[in-house]
Amino acid sequence: DTAVSQTPKYLVTQMGNDKSIKCEQNLGHDTMYWYKQDSKKFLKIMFSYNNKELIINETVPNRFSPKSPDKAHLNLHINSLELGDSAVYFCASSQVGREGHNEQFFGPGTRLTVL
């Protein structure tokens, strides 16, 4: 009955590889997000999708490409991984437009380590 789930939980890989992180939400929300949390715990929005359409695309390298096959899924694909990509990546979802219900629900995170 997990609301927002991510796989994998841990990802260790070599520089230069391509990897994907998957996210699924069963809350019926129409908007999903990807955040990056750095080693100092600072969280920053990367992308936002509403009904499979890209809404927010912050300044991230174009090696990062989100893909939303349907509104319950938002996957993150990363090409040519670099050491600086090591971080914890969080997926989140929310329902836009409902008065008083604008909080985001977060997944458990994926800890990516690039060697």
Binding site: N50, G100, G109
Partner: protein, 115 residues
């Protein structure tokens, strides 16, 4: 533009004593404000939210926060700390956009509880 400043990076309290985590915000419009908690190696959990209803907001686990527009503050309090409260706390301001909510996170306050 919106921003959040958490005034303390680390707060240490004794078990059973009050907790105060300070947060100031800046926003060009009526903000929605949140406090999230992150326990070690876990995801983010919503503690409470302010969305222009009552200025004193009660959350889970005995936490509450008061929205003070004149002081642009949204401090988090709890009357009596418990060991299980030890975690990282994030103050967050939200802005509505077309099809999504953009969250801006503070840098976090680490709460330590001394037995």
């Amino acid at each position: 533009a919106q921003s959040v400043t958490q005034l303390d990076s680390h707060v240490s309290v004794s078990e059973g004593t009050p907790v105060l985590l300070r947060c100031n915000y800046s926003s060009s419009y009526s903000p929605s404000l949140f406090w999230y908690v992150q326990h070690p190696n876990k995801g983010l959990q919503l503690l409470l939210k302010y969305t222009s209803a009552a200025t004193l907001v009660k959350g889970i686990n005995g936490f509450e926060a008061e929205f003070k527009k004149s002081e642009t503050s949204f401090h988090l309090t709890k009357p009596s700390a418990h060991m299980s409260d030890a975690a990282e706390y994030f103050c967050v301001v939200s802005r509505s956009g077309a099809g999504s909510y953009q969250l801006t996170f503070g840098k976090g306050t680490k709460l330590s509880v001394i037995p």
